[in-house]
């Protein structure tokens, strides 16, 4: 036989060479391509697990919940790894009590092959969880759901969060970092059904967010909301705001802006309802500005509290300041307190003229107008006070009754708090304390050091106990009167400047009342401003008729509640 020995051996040597070639190939794969395939393995074999921290709660001053997070489960399908759709859906359907056809439909129509939500916001039992985990291609995802027990009533103050749990308004936005905590992340190698094989590394543990305790009182907030909403709807107003503050500390006890929205469901909310009009909506305050100017005039000795001023019988005209009239009837001689009580524009114009531009500007600025109050909410506006060198004869006669200045409602409330606090400066604020998830106090709001006086105690007490008390007893604010307490305050019916024509519009007003009680030792300051009550309803549109009753109701409920 002629066996081809050499050919056979040559063939075997070629096979040996091929084996060595495979060795080289493996070296190429394992040394040079290792990083490339490592990337690929991370994509196909590794899963990440994010542990979402519990977002901090927002509580009122008595520990009642204003916003809190609790856990809900989403059952989802990873369509691309499901082999037997029928079997999968049937076994899942048995656990979560759903129609298997319905489940199949959800899986088949899902846009994302890796995530088809089947049940959202469910509360699963431990047994259900274990059963579901055993089905290939079905996963459970837990997430935090935010609830807002007061719903619309405290919407703008508490705010809301977006789908990524990021605060988008109110306290939720202002203190987002504090509330959010930090996400825990760990990655692990998983099998083809995405079950963990081995924990690779735990990069971080979740850190729950801190709780925030507000000065807000849920009960007072609800009184305020209810009272304001009633009037807002009855008068078909464009917007309305109300706030209750503790004048001694500047603590905000309630804060309502209408129209409102549901922080848990933003559908139907628009810019008008989302905005907090107390902070973001500067307006010409009108008559509620008068007590500030009067107090400052007394403080600077420009006038004497017992002085009488001739109010020109309702027609005051002159070179350099044009013509000034009253809202209704004209007045003759009025004492300073009567000018406030009856809200005489001419009287105030004359006081302004006596003071002069420089002093008046100084006073307005000292009361905090034209500056942010620094309240711990986002979106606060500055308002606008013209620089004194731009003031004319018109200005000095009109600023005293609240024209030619733009202020925010919170600035007004703060200025009245200063008066109610014997002239001492206070800053409005909402956060009382921040407490970490372990119970550690992170921040306590300290009371303001009582250093600066804007006006003296005597001036402040005179303007409250005398002038503004008379507004409620004899003047324009009679509807704010209560039997049990001595209410003081000031009404305002401000024209809304028409930006296009430059003049004032005779149809649109802001009806305001700002005041407090009791006159001897003010416990609360209340501001109510209702923008554009519908004049055509013929129910009235003035501060005295629209806003004062609301303030009275809020005051009555609040003082009863606080047992004052």
């Amino acid at each position: 036989m002629n066996m081809r020995n050499k050919t056979a051996l040559l063939l075997l040597l070629i096979i040996a060479a091929a084996l060595l070639g495979i060795g080289v190939r493996c070296f190429y794969l394992q040394y040079y391509k290792a990083d490339y395939y490592h990337e690929a393995s991370v994509k196909s074999q590794k899963s990440s697990f994010f542990e979402r921290p519990r977002r901090g709660s927002i509580l009122d001053c008595r520990g009642r919940t204003l916003a809190a997070s609790y856990k809900v489960d989403t059952v989802f399908a990873e369509a691309r790894i499901i082999n037997d759709l029928k079997k999968t859906t049937e076994s899942l359907a048995a656990i979560i009590d759903m129609d298997p056809v319905e489940i199949s439909k959800l899986i088949l129509t899902a846009r994302n092959p890796g995530y088809a939500p089947i049940v959202t916001d469910a509360k699963l039992t431990d047994e259900q969880r274990n059963q579901i985990r055993r089905i290939r291609g079905i996963g459970i995802e837990s997430r935090w759901k935010r609830i807002y027990p007061l719903s619309n009533a405290a919407a703008q103050v508490v705010g809301f969060i977006g789908t990524d749990e990021h605060g988008l308004a109110g306290i939720e936005q202002q203190y987002n970092k504090t509330l959010a905590g930090s996400v825990g992340q760990s990655s692990f190698f998983s099998d083809a059904a995405r079950r963990p094989v081995r924990l690779e590394q735990c990069q971080s543990f979740a850190q729950d967010g801190a709780d925030i305790i507000l000065t807000l009182d849920a009960t007072i907030q609800q009184f305020t909301h209810k009272a304001l909403l009633k009037q807002f709807q009855e008068y078909e107003a464009e917007s309305a705001v109300a706030t209750v503050l503790d004048p001694c500390t500047g603590a905000v006890l309630s804060m309502v802006s209408l129209p409102d929205f549901n922080p848990a469901d933003l559908s139907g909310a628009d810019a008008n309802s989302l905005g907090n009009h107390l902070l973001s909506d500067p307006y010409e305050p009108g008559s509620i500005f008068k007590p500030i100017v009067a107090a400052w005039a007394v403080e600077t000795n420009s006038i004497d509290p017992n002085e009488t001023i001739f109010c020109e019988d309702g027609h005051y005209r002159g070179k350099g300041f044009g013509s000034i009239g009253e809202y209704r009837q004209g007045f003759g001689n009025l004492k300073i307190s009567e000018i406030i009580a009856h809200s005489s524009n001419i009287g105030m114009a004359k006081i302004g003229q006596k003071m002069g531009t420089q002093k008046l500007y100084e006073g307005v600025t000292l009361f905090g107008f034209g500056q942010k109050t620094g309240i711990d909410l986002p979106g606060e506006e500055y308002g606008f006070i013209r620089k004194p060198d731009k003031w004319t004869g018109y200005s000095v006669a009109r600023v005293p009754f609240g024209h030619e200045v733009l202020v925010t409602a919170i600035q007004m409330a703060r200025a009245f708090c200063i008066l109610a606090n014997d002239g001492r400066v206070v800053n409005p604020h909402l956060v009382k304390a921040i407490v970490s998830d372990t119970g550690k106090k992170l921040k306590i709001t300290e009371p303001m050091p009582t250093g600066g006086f804007v006006v003296s105690k005597n001036t402040a007490r005179w303007i409250i106990r005398q002038a503004m008390r008379e507004v409620v007893t004899d003047g324009t604010g009679k509807k704010a009167a209560l039997d049990k307490w001595e209410v003081w305050g000031k009404t305002g019916t401000a024209n809304i400047a028409d930006r296009t024509s430059g003049g004032y519009d005779e149809e649109n007003y802001v009806a305001s009342f700002i005041g407090g009680a009791p006159a001897q030792r003010p416990a609360v300051v209340v501001l109510v401003s209702i923008r554009k009550p519908n004049k055509k309803l013929s129910k009235g549109y003035t501060g005295g008729s629209v806003a004062a009753p609301v303030a009275a109701e809020i005051l009555k409920n609040t003082l009863n509640y606080l047992e004052i």
Partner: protein, 379 residues
């Protein structure tokens, strides 16, 4: 070096390979929710492999004691044909290959297996594996007995037709194995001294059959595509398996992730205990493990060549060549597939992949190789 020493070296190499196989079949069978019911241990591939390993060692040493010359034609004439083991094996193989088409169990849309229930256990048997070794034995035996007649064209055609029949029966269900069996059969025939131009006659027929086999099956076209196209563009479809294989090999880097610490075996890499077990070895033992496996096969090849050279008996020499060729070439093809040097086909890694049939028959072949080594005089 005596023949016995060489036989022992072969035994060492083969047992090491099989032991490695047992370890990695066990490792690759790992599942997250593994709960073993040991009363049914035979239903777990990883435990079955241990049994196969022990039986294989018995087979290995039994065949090494058997005189390989008894596998050749011991008698002349028709009696020689009837009493020849290889002839009986070929006939049995053909019958089983026909039967498996009707009685075989369907796995992955192909009937390649017999499932024989035997009491509490089920014996799986793959006739194509038996056919492969039967043909190797038969061609060696026949070539020797025909001697110079092998150069006769008529004889060549007859042998080719027989090979064609066996390969044709295999190709119906298992394309990869068919190509492999056809190739080694023709190579042994060539080494036995058949005229080279005779081989030109069956080649067009084979080429036509294989071309038809590829284009008649969408799955095979996909496999060829998966081989030609860059692997990330088809990572989710037909190229999934090979990409997972490359990920497994590559992420093992030089030193490997450590025994049992691989990730790909958790459902990412299909066929991880059988055809793709080398990827798991490369993942867990790294390049060092790759070198070890390649070294074992190279040594097997090297000592195989020594056996061929030392043997002064035509039948022994041809048979040793056939056995070494079948084992090492199969290893090369398997490694080539796993490292994406060749298109995917279902071919096991000798001695290592899970599976009883192939392990027993490979052990038998290695035993015969040992027998040849022992019975040849030092040259």
């Amino acid at each position: 070096m005596t023949g016995k020493t060489i036989a022992n070296i072969i035994a060492c190499l083969v047992v090491t390979l099989m032991a490695l196989g047992v370890v990695f079949v066990f490792s690759a069978s790992a599942r997250i929710d593994a709960e073993y019911d040991l009363s049914k241990f035979y239903s777990y591939p990883e435990f079955r492999q241990i049994v196969f390993f022990m039986v294989s060692m018995i087979i290995l040493f039994a065949f090494s004691r058997l005189d390989y010359r008894k596998l050749g034609f011991c008698f002349t004439g028709v009696k020689g044909w009837i009493f020849n083991i290889s002839v009986l094996l070929v006939v049995t193989s053909i019958i089983l290959l026909v039967l498996v088409l009707f009685l075989g169990a369907e796995v992955n849309y192909a009937r390649r297996w017999f499932r024989i229930p035997a009491g509490p256990v089920t014996i799986n048997f793959q006739p194509s594996e038996l056919a492969k070794w039967s043909l190797v034995l038969f061609i060696c035996a026949v070539s020797v007995v025909l001697d110079k007649k092998i150069k006769n064209f008529r004889i060549f055609v007859l042998l080719s037709l027989l090979i064609g029949l066996v390969v044709g029966l295999i190709v119906i269900e298992d394309f990869g194995t068919a190509v492999f069996v056809a190739f080694i059969s023709l190579v042994i025939l060539f080494a036995a001294g058949a005229k080279w131009w005779h081989f030109l006659t069956p080649l067009p027929v084979l080429a036509a059959v294989f071309a038809f086999a590829i284009f008649s099956s969408p799955e095979r076209i996909e496999r060829v595509k998966a081989f030609i196209l860059p692997d990330d563009s088809i990572a989710q479809t037909s190229g999934y398996q090979i990409r997972q294989s490359l990920i497994a090999i590559s992420t093992g880097r030089i030193f490997g992730k450590g025994l049992g610490r691989g990730i790909s075996k958790y459902g990412h890499l299909p066929e991880d205990t059988t055809d793709f077990i080398f990827a798991i070895i490369a993942e867990e033992f790294g390049f060092l493990g790759v070198c070890f496996v390649i070294l074992l096969f190279l040594l097997l090849l090297f000592f195989g060549i020594i056996i061929i050279c030392r043997c002064n008996d035509d039948f022994g020499r041809l048979l040793a060549f056939g056995i070494v060729l079948a084992i090492v070439l199969q290893a090369v093809i398997n490694l080539g597939v796993v490292t994406r040097l060749l298109p995917t086909k279902g071919i096991a890694l000798p001695f290592i992949s899970a599976g009883g049939t192939h392990l027993f028959l490979s052990a038998m072949a290695a035993g015969i190789l040992m027998s040849i080594a022992k019975r040849s005089n030092a040259g």
